[in-house]
């Protein structure tokens, strides 16, 4: 059997879809990032596919923008059964009113059961307004969904205090149920290039944006985020070897530079950069400990970090007991390769 025969077989199985009449369905409002369909949108289509398969419904994607018609292919490949396109120069830059002028009447007519947005700036700006307009329920920043098949209500899980624990909520009666989903929380679907379809073009009456853009604020300096509220921290200790490499790593990750008490004793960091119970307590998303042994006072001041990477030559260092990723090696060997891999 040669490859051309295989191709022929696959082509014969090319799927075509007939769209259901009479509304309902699971809808995904697509987001663009860098001129492409945003990864979170593909993940949303994956989640919508699972929900729709349990409900016996169709998945529709809506894409708004300027010169975006060619991108509809990706939406079909990811699992959408139908695509609605609003392609208009007036939609090139995101603004609430022009986008709502397209989505509002569309959803009013289609009466979706579930609408998914990405929890991006665009999704977070549009979803509450649509929920209010349509009398629907809105659950924000969702990381997991489950379906109650008897009521067709989605049970959605969202992180509280940045993921310390989760809240579980549902919209028992209100429809549509609108969800904004977190990037990276759902699996990205396989792009099946044999899935194809013809997108439906929407009429666009460009509305005026009521919030006017004046231009970039080049002279604006945002307030400095203190170390205690940093989302990303790179900390060095006495075993870090060259401290310049630690500083380079902090810069490469756009992270706050810190250290333990030992680094301060050695004069490598300032007093307000000491991560210690007696210094600064941090709870970042990512904490990279380079050459820090991790005494009790240090570990207690950073143990709340969501993800801890530890690089230390001593396998018995206490930092390894709380780290998520442990590298037993000399930082001087690891850091140059790490810096190279990150840039």
């Amino acid at each position: 059997m040669d490859a051309s025969y295989l191709d022929l077989m696959m082509a014969q199985q090319e799927e075509t879809f007939e769209e259901a009449e009479g509304g309902g369905g699971v809808w995904v409002v697509a987001d663009l990032s860098g001129g492409q369909i945003a990864p979170v949108t593909l993940e949303a289509i994956g989640a919508a596919r699972t929900l729709a398969d349990s409900l016996g419904a169709y998945v529709y994607a809506v894409l708004l923008g300027d010169d975006v018609t060619s991108l509809s292919e990706t939406l079909y490949q990811a699992g959408a059964d139908g695509v609605r396109l609003a392609d208009h120069p007036g939609l090139a830059r995101f603004a609430v009113e022009p986008y709502l002028a397209v989505l509002g009447p569309l959803f009013e007519e289609e009466q979706p059961e579930i609408i998914l947005f990405g929890a991006t700036d665009v999704g977070q700006a549009l979803a509450p307004r649509l929920a209010q307009r349509m009398g629907g329920g809105l659950i924000e920043r969702v990381t997991a969904v489950a379906l109650d098949e008897s009521t067709r209500a989605v049970k959605a899980t969202f992180p509280v205090y940045g993921g310390d624990y989760f809240g579980v909520v549902t919209c028992p009666e209100a429809r549509p149920q609108i969800l904004t989903i977190m990037a990276g929380a759902f699996a990205r679907p396989f792009l099946d290039e044999y899935r194809k379809g013809e997108p439906v073009m929407l009429d666009v009456e460009p509305a005026e944006a009521v919030v006017r853009l004046l231009g970039p604020a080049e002279d604006y300096q945002p307030p400095r985020v203190p170390l205690s509220e940093a989302r990303m921290v790179v900390a060095g200790g006495r075993q870090a070897g060259s401290f310049d490499a630690v500083e380079d790593l902090a810069e490469a990750l756009d992270a706050h530079l810190a250290g333990d008490r030992g680094a301060w004793d050695a004069g490598l960091i300032a007093a307000d950069q000491i991560v210690d119970v007696r210094g600064v307590t941090v709870s970042p998303d990512v904490y990279v400990a380079v050459g820090i042994r991790g005494d009790t006072f240090h570990n207690a001041a950073m143990g709340d970090a969501t993800f801890i990477v530890a690089i230390h030559p001593d396998p018995t260092a206490p930092i390894f007991e709380i780290a998520d990723l442990c590298v037993e090696a000399d930082p001087e060997d690891v850091l140059p390769a790490l810096l190279e891999a990150l840039t």
């Binding site: 624990y165 549902t170 209100a174 990276g184 919030v211 004046l214 780290a323 442990c326 590298v327």
Partner: protein, 262 residues
């Protein structure tokens, strides 16, 4: 000019522990703070008041009975506090609170600017202010870092992906402030004592409005129902990265890149 600031409270995260193995939330110190983003919104309103003639009204934006947040807001410099309360309000979700605030605005005789925090510290919700904007049909500016009002317009600095941009909108408008945008001022000590004693210039600054008088029972039924809490899996002992340094570096770089994306 009248500015309405929505204030909500949140449990101080330093006082709670989410125990993953027991799947329970332990509240060691029940201390409530003003939502940091809401506090920024109040600070922005007070700065507008400092620069020009304005009346700052704070109103509660959450169903839990709590007037301490509003008293603190008045001590910081707000002129009035509207404390919406009632038994029927206790199960309220954002949709109901937005309706209640709409009714508050109507009863106040209109406001020119509504300020709130962009996201809550705990649940990460940002829908309240935007639902209100839709209900009122006003423009919304989301996640402002700097705010000024001049000539019937509001101007703000916002973040647009990697850069900061300036935007403007006509009043009335709804603006949500980013958390950490401004450094909130300390409450005035004398005002703080007087607001609890109901004395001095802040006497009767805090008013209690019954929610039953603002909304009908149908309007008070929540859309979203809370089912409970879930906890992440227990933290496992760290994954040891074996192999030579170059390979270990690759593994670390990939893990970091994944975290940065999320």
């Amino acid at each position: 000019m009248r500015i309405l600031v929505i204030l909500r409270r949140v449990l101080d995260p330093a006082g709670i522990v989410a125990h993953r193995r027991l799947r329970r939330l332990f509240i060691n110190r029940e201390v409530y703070i003003i939502q940091p983003a809401d506090e920024c919104a109040l600070e922005a309103a007070l700065r507008i008041k400092d620069a020009a003639e304005a009346e700052v009204v704070v109103a509660s934006g959450q169903p839990e009975p709590d007037d301490d947040t509003l008293r603190r807001g008045i001590a910081m410099g707000a002129d009035r506090g509207i404390y919406v309360s009632g038994e029927a309000f206790e199960n309220a979700d954002e949709a109901v609170v937005a309706r209640a605030l709409e009714a508050v605005i109507e009863r106040l005789g209109g406001v020119d600017l509504v300020l709130s925090g962009a996201t809550t510290l705990d649940t990460g919700q940002s829908q309240l202010g935007l639902r209100l904007a839709e209900a009122l049909g006003w423009p919304q500016i989301v996640g402002a870092w700097q705010l000024e009002v001049a000539g019937g317009e509001v101007r703000a600095v916002c973040r647009d992906s990697e850069q900061y941009i300036r935007v403007e909108a006509d009043l009335p408008a709804v603006v949500s402030m980013a958390s950490g945008a401004l450094k909130p001022r300390y409450p005035d000590g004398v005002r703080l004592i007087n607001i609890y004693r109901d004395e001095g210039e802040v006497a009767e600054a805090l008013q209690l409005w019954e929610v039953d008088e603002l909304l009908t029972p149908e309007e008070l039924s929540p859309v979203v129902e809370t089912l409970g809490r879930d906890f992440p899996p227990e933290r496992e002992r760290g994954e040891r990265v074996e192999g030579p340094s170059e390979e270990a570096a690759q593994v670390v770089a990939e893990a970091l890149r994944q975290r940065m994306r999320g």
